[in-house]
């Protein structure tokens, strides 16, 4: 809501304060002033002057005039590039030394071979309009030499106030004026305090069929409308400053009254109406061509104003084209009604027709206003000599009384944490228009008609606290009950994330939106749960309507983006939920303000998709950089598999690696990852077709695991190691096996064979050359043996080694390398 200070001062006896001060007080009271426009500021030395002579200078590429002016004192000559004026016109003359908004100073200067003694100003140069097509031509009767700021009333400050949805009353000079008067304790004159003239009998037959959608409808007539009379400058200017466009006198007057008191008005051409006005819901299939000339199919929920011909207006939203005021209109029917907020909100949104009227009805309009607003409009029309009132007032009134609120007078102080005296509570509520009566139960508070938002005691509490001032609230800390700290899951999530960062992975947060084809590009089977299955009805981008069911596509995109930006060695990770449909279904319709039963809550949760948390990494480029020490090492499947070990190790669990074929991985370079027999995910090099589909570098590697399973697998309390003080025996063993045998299997056999004395086992060499034999490989391990209670003898060490080798031989036909 834009409001000029001059309009505000019409109704509030404000002390000598500037607009910024008013803005600060309003903001502190909850009406946030977003900006203050200072109009006419910075204009000095601009006076009214008359054009006495124009010489066209033709030697230039564009038309240039050498203009002689009479400023009431002297003759002055200036250069001017505009041509929209003639001899005799009055113009705004910047007479040196003059200044214009934006800090421009105007001096005499050389231009086009003449000394231009100042300049003639455009509307934009004066900051009063956007018009820069020509200079501003003033009305003829202004005295020469007068300061244009004074002559045109240019100096004003306009407050731009953001109005919250619960404060419909503040969408008016009246509502804001009341707040300003409270803020300064300044007297307020309510513009709506006019006795409505009742006249004799009704004005027009009106019937309200839907009293829920409309509980009041006032209709009044104006005759003898003179379409030739335009709105006066002062009215037009106020509309413009308030952000509305002047249209015609009648429309301007209805808008002016709406801005002043907050009641939207609508004017029908009375001669186009047939039969009584009926307020009802639209019938199925009914249509209406609205003022914006759009033919609309109406919804049965739309509230309409209808006559015998059918709907003539969308109630509270927009009028119809057929009954519109035109240049030919002489008889007017003025509507001032009270429509229900939700009905108007839905209709405005259904037809995408937000209007000044709907904005107000949605936020709640004073239901006592219709007769007053109609009278204000008619009085103004008469005052402007544009028409005359028709006797009679139709006022169909189905309003229900506003319930009073019982308020414990100590409640505001108790909630604020401040001791407000009861008198302050009473005063504040009275200031906003409530009637307060003390009773045995506390205060019986009757909110004013313009505050339909006040329904509960806490609503009144807010009024008291905001007017007493939030600045006066103390800063105290509640004594929270003792908490348990982070949950195990929360702690372990941090552990996992830190482990990856420590291992050289950079965390990214990727877009969770994916396209339908991302599953195909990952080569996933039809039934794979990682195919996108949760679709957004109104996606941000139509090309990505699904929620991710795997973290990989987002990471791939992030990797590709980084590489495109010249960052080639990439190791990224992301953790977070993925979304997998469980069939969905309709959520049960539950009420607000009532705790649902446990069954109902279970039903609610059942319609939600599965949202498991996952961890994924992607690697490309070098894992170790090249440098003066030698060549780099490209990232590969090994690093992706190692990431699984990094994660498992950080939680103190062992991950079992085994070969697998699993999209989107290279079928020969893919590891299944198990912890205690449970599959946690896969790692490896990506399938070349996946690499291509996501425009990744060749041999890009990745891993994706279930964060939930990983965390669940972590021991609650890890077992302490037995630290033996006896010396260790370290022996190596090299075994020759089939080339296809996974080293992990050979290692498992050695472990099993070695038994409890084996403290550590580590593979350290792999040989696949000729000496190993055709189709064979040699794998070397080092074993560290130690007993908890004694120093091992050479015989014991040899026995363990032999047992380990024997088990490897039994399981895998391994032979000792000679």
């Amino acid at each position: 809501m834009k409001l000029p200070m001059s309009w505000l001062r019409d109704y509030v006896e404000l002390p000598d304060v500037n607009a910024r001060d008013v803005a600060e007080r309003l903001t502190a009271a909850g009406l946030q002033v977003e900006r203050v426009d200072r109009l006419g500021e910075g204009i000095e030395g601009v006076v009214v002057a008359r054009v006495t002579d124009i010489e066209e200078l033709t030697e230039f590429k564009k038309p240039i005039r050498w203009v002689t002016l009479d400023d009431g004192r002297d003759r002055r000559q200036v250069i001017c590039g505009a041509t929209n004026f003639g001899v005799g016109d009055r113009v705004a003359y910047a007479r040196p030394p003059a200044s214009l908004p934006g800090g421009f100073t105007i001096e005499a200067r050389e231009a086009y071979g003449h000394t231009s003694d100042g300049m003639i100003c455009s509307g934009r140069e004066l900051g009063i309009s956007d018009d820069h097509t020509g200079i501003l031509v003033l009305v003829p009767d202004l005295p020469l030499g007068d300061d244009v700021v004074v002559a045109l009333g240019l100096r004003d400050d306009v407050l731009d106030i953001s109005i919250n949805p619960d404060r419909g009353y503040a969408l008016s000079v009246r509502g804001i004026g009341r707040e300003v008067s409270i803020a300064y304790g300044a007297p307020f004159h309510d513009p709506a305090l006019v006795g409505p003239r009742t006249g004799s009998g009704p004005s027009y037959e009106v019937r309200i069929d839907d009293t829920e959608g409309c509980d009041r409808y006032v209709a009044r007539g104006v005759d003898g409308l003179d379409p030739a009379i335009a709105s006066p400058q002062w009215l037009q200017r106020r509309l413009v400053l308030a952000g509305m466009r002047p249209i015609s006198l009648l429309v301007d007057v209805t808008n002016y009254v709406m801005l002043e008191v907050g009641q939207p008005l609508h004017a029908f051409d009375r001669d186009t109406l047939t039969g009584p006005i009926v307020v009802r819901r639209a019938a199925p299939g009914e249509r209406l061509r609205t003022l914006d000339n759009v033919d609309r199919e109406l919804d049965p929920h739309d509230l309409v104003i209808a006559d015998d011909s059918g709907p003539v207006a969308l109630a509270g939203v927009m009028g119809g084209a057929a009954t519109e005021i035109t240049a030919a209109t002489t008889r007017v029917l003025l509507e001032a009604a009270h429509f229900e907020a939700t009905t108007v909100a839905y209709t405005a949104r259904r037809h995408r027709l937000p209007s000044e009227a709907s904005r107000r009805f949605e936020r709640g309009v004073d239901d006592a206003l219709p007769p007053t607003a109609a009278e204000l409009a008619i009085a103004l029309i008469e005052q402007l000599g544009a028409g005359r009132r028709v006797d009679g007032v139709t006022d169909v009134d189905h309003r229900s009384p506003i319930p009073t609120i019982t308020l414990d007078p100590e409640l505001p102080g108790r909630i604020a944490g401040v001791d407000y005296p009861q008198s302050a509570v009473e005063d504040r509520l009275t200031e906003i228009g409530c009637r307060v009566r003390a009773s045995s139960a506390g205060f019986e508070v009757a909110p004013p008609t313009w505050r339909p938002d006040l329904r509960l005691p806490v609503d009144l509490v807010e009024e008291v606290v905001r007017l007493e001032g939030y600045a006066g609230l103390p800063s105290t800390l509640p004594r929270a009950t003792a908490g348990d700290g982070l949950t195990r899951t929360q702690r372990l999530r941090r552990v996992l994330s830190r482990a990856l960062a420590g291992a050289g992975y950079v965390e990214v947060l990727c877009s969770p939106f994916v396209d339908a084809e991302s599953g195909d590009r990952l080569l996933l089977d039809a039934g794979d749960p990682r195919r996108p299955s949760v679709r957004i009805a109104n996606p941000v981008s139509d090309t990505e309507p699904y929620l991710r069911a795997t973290l990989l596509p987002g990471l791939f995109a992030a990797a590709a983006r980084n590489i495109a930006r010249g960052l080639h060695d990439i190791a990224l990770f992301e953790t977070g939920p993925v979304f997998r449909s469980r069939g969905g279904g309709k959520a049960p319709d539950l009420k607000a303000g009532v705790r649902p039963s446990d069954d109902e809550l279970a039903e609610l949760d059942a319609v939600l998709p599965d949202q498991p948390n996952r961890i994924a990494c992607v690697l490309a480029g070098n894992r170790e950089t090249a440098g003066w020490w030698g060549p780099g090492r490209p990232a590969g499947w090994q690093d992706a598999v190692e990431a699984a070990r990094v994660l498992a190790r950080s939680l103190g669990v062992d991950v079992t690696i085994s070969a697998d074929r699993h999209s989107p991985f290279h079928p020969g370079r893919c590891a299944a990852l198990h912890i205690e027999g449970e599959l946690v995910g896969h790692a490896g090099e990506l399938h070349p077709r996946v690499v291509e589909a996501f425009a990744l570098p060749a041999r890009t590697a990745a891993i994706e695991v279930s964060q939930d399973i990983l965390i669940a697998s972590a021991p609650d309390i890890a077992a302490a190691a037995v630290v033996s003080p006896y010396p260790a025996a370290t022996i190596d063993v090299a075994l020759v096996v089939d080339r296809d045998l996974p080293v992990a299997a050979l290692e498992a056999a050695l472990r099993a064979g070695a038994g409890e004395l084996l403290e550590a086992l580590r593979m350290f060499d792999l040989y696949t050359g000729e000496q190993a034999g055709s189709g064979r490989k040699s794998v070397a391990f080092t074993m560290r043996l130690r007993a908890p209670d004694r120093t091992l003898t050479a015989e014991e060490v040899a026995e363990v080694r032999a047992a380990a080798v024997a088990e490897a031989a039994r399981r895998h036909q391994a032979v000792l390398r000679s």
Binding site: L477, A480, T481, P512, A558, G593
Partner: protein, 369 residues
Amino acid sequence: MSGPNDPYDPKEVSALSDDELAAAVTQGEAAFAAATDLDTLAEAHTTHLGPRSSVALARRELGALPPQARADAGRRVNAALAALTASYDARRSALEIERDERVLVEEAVDVTLPWDRAPVGGRHPLTLIQERVADVFVGMGWEIAEGPEVEASWFNFDALNIPPAHPARETQDTLWIEPADNGVLLRTQTSPVQIRALLARGAPCYVAVPGRVYRQEALDATHSAVFHQLEGLAVDEGLTMGDLRGTLDTLARAMFGPQVRTRLRPDHYPFTEPSADVDLLCWVCQGTSTEPGAEFCRTCRSEGWIEWGGSGMVHPVVLASAGIDPERYTGFAFGMGLERTLMSRHDMSDIRDLVEGDVRVTAALGREG
């Protein structure tokens, strides 16, 4: 130790003569002094202090002397031995120092050479700030609550006193899961977790909820469809707006430092009554850019205050939706955007830097604890 000489096979004992001993010492000292490196010194040691050296021989002869002569001879031999040993030790340590100095100089390297072989990881600044705020609240005894990102509209709207006609429910704000009339959506705020936390814990309840939320927004410098919020909820007997303010002040200091100044300003939220916005005094211009004629402040756009988040006293309908008696308990709640908090902290101007996954962003901010 017994010497090789036995009384039955006496040998020449001239080695024990004063002259011989003095000569051995003189020659040994000279040889040690003449040694220019440790190898030569070792050779000299063998010659003059080794098992075949004169003093060693002299020492062996002692056993052959009659007991009355042995004590005197022993003293003289020991003195000679001590003198030689001292001379040797002094020379050896001098030579060692010399060698060490030389060798260590020869082995010197250019320690400014890079060694960035291993990749450097980092965590996303938004993850870190979520952990940081979690730690602030855990420190106050609060707990960290969580909820699903795809949420039932009852939790996201109805239970929070946002009626069906409320504009926030419209498709221009909310991303709905298909089919759109199923009442399932991407949560538009972390507030639904208020309800879940209250349902799960009852009162009293002190929880903070950092998390990801979604809105129907196109990506630009200041908007992202996916962003993060921090929600706080305290429900207990006798909680006040003063407690809300104190909690927000604590959080603001933790996020922006001890000098930060906050302001509460009345605003409207359906799920709180009274409601308040939390503003921070612009830390660049300290609010001075609002004065007429002052230079424009890029940080607060010359508004003096920077809007940080929304807050208020939990609306009775919200408490009742979660089965909490609004007559007995009061509560406060607040929520703020973590991207905005982060961008304010680090004076960043483009939210896209946080969502595009450029590793340079994490490199710069991802190691701040």
